[in-house]
Symmetry: C2
Subunit: 346 residues, 2 copies
Amino acid sequence: MDVKIALLGAGKVGQGFLANLRKRREQLSSRYGITFQLVSICDLAGGSIISPTGLKISEILPILENNGSLVEYEPSGQVCVKGMDVNACIEMSHADVVLESIVFNQETGEPALSYIRKALGLRKHVVTCNKGPVSMHYKELTSLAKANGVRFLFGGTMMNGTPVINIISNSFRADEVREIRGVLNVSANYILWAMEQGLSYEEGIKEARHLGYLEADASLDLEGHDSLAKLVILLNILTNGDFPSHQIVREGITQITSRDIGLGMERGLRYKMMVGAARSEDGQWQGQVGLQKLEESDPFYNLDKTRNALLIRTETVGDIYLEGPGAGKIRAGNALLSDLLSIYAT
Amino acid sequence: MDVKIALLGAGKVGQGFLANLRKRREQLSSRYGITFQLVSICDLAGGSIISPTGLKISEILPILENNGSLVEYEPSGQVCVKGMDVNACIEMSHADVVLESIVFNQETGEPALSYIRKALGLRKHVVTCNKGPVSMHYKELTSLAKANGVRFLFGGTMMNGTPVINIISNSFRADEVREIRGVLNVSANYILWAMEQGLSYEEGIKEARHLGYLEADASLDLEGHDSLAKLVILLNILTNGDFPSHQIVREGITQITSRDIGLGMERGLRYKMMVGAARSEDGQWQGQVGLQKLEESDPFYNLDKTRNALLIRTETVGDIYLEGPGAGKIRAGNALLSDLLSIYAT
């Protein structure tokens, strides 16, 4: 089967997707009989390109990795159209699936949101790794996908390839999730660990930035917005609706001091940036995001500085704990590919 | 949608399934629009019964829980046929799905195997919680299901509702699993913990039996057969074939002494009954089942006495750790219901 794909956003995650696709291409063809054709790449910053016959990833990827842009790319021996806007690319590329990893405004989810709407409306499957549209417009986008007979997948929005979205969505149909609790932001987790090693808050931030753990706008991580958006996505799935994020108490790690960390350690306590939500008997969920002082018996106490984890407490099965890596653009790109395969490979 | 189901085996797991179905019935109807009709129960020991109009679970379940058998059950106001053999029940019950939880021979997988073959051949979906048929005849049964356009599901064969089969089967299409390692037998895990608390091996067995953790034939747990079968199922999925179980080095916990446990504890080491398998560069898997002495840094060191866990190491995503409850017939019954819903509920 030939599957035509369009990639929106050619940043690190988009490049990670392309690197994974290039690496796995033959394996996917022999194992599932699927050949992916990259018929378009569009980037707000880097220009756009459409090729009905398929772009050569081996040519494109090194250019993106070096220049971050395809503006100067001149394809050889391919029919290509360059310089169209993203909407035109979605409309004209004949893609079966749109992979969306474009930069978006944290307040509005735009322009990612509009691109997803357009693609779903044109009966194209959409795979995204962007939290904004999924946390803010879950109900609309899942309904739109359903009405158009296509899939809307977002496994790459958290935990970097650990299949937490798949599990929350599909594994408890015969059960009832009562509570979730987890560490979903790797930079806060890392900074708190660094402070335990004696670094100041500012030094911790510097290290986290150096390691690529921080968002470009660090306040998204440090003030808990990133954790909040992830928690809201989980609650959207669990409630099959748009969970009102303003109802979630949010606190960041910006108030933490080395003294707090030290006093905690003296008492055997460890600070973690947690998300949590519980369902009351009447079916209402209450959630919070913020620092917690954990005792050694807590399942998150020993969670490594670079990892994420989620505890899912259900009525019948009980406590399920899932842990995986917290960062990595290659892994995020792999999550896009994994979602893509879940549409076609069986 | 009306779905007709036949239940083979009315032991604790079958009863657990019925209890879960009774509890969730209205919820499943309102949430997914599915109504399940129990058109047959067949038990090797307890007799069989077919009802085209559907048996009343609220009548049947208390009788099963009290008598372990439906031999003396006289349904009121329903058209029923009693006393047919299991094959006849599969053939004549008009079930869409056969749920299989019947006792089977550990050497041959029979009669569970033949019943599964028959049901799949008649284009009925099959959901089983029995390890034998899946560990010994995976390739044949999955191919038979595919050829007949039906599903063959076995999420209840391990980890009691923790979605490990789902994850191993569906979450790494874009990745490559390199290694798995875990604790999949709760009775061995419990006995080793009990010995750390000062009990002898025999006392540990007695307690595990009292708590319902041991199979009727305790050697299945103590000699590692149960762990082996679970490891083979995972390897069958990963290799998409029948993994030769004789190639797996198997050791039980029967040689362990209180002195071993004590010496380990003095050095900060803890014994766990582990399964493990790794894939070499040339794609070959090698596996083993047996006791390991774990250091405190090992992810399984602090695993609770009643829980199971699996570490999945992949090429791209890295280490994913999944932990959940190890025992419970209600949970095993819930796993059957969960698989059943994954066929029909979307």
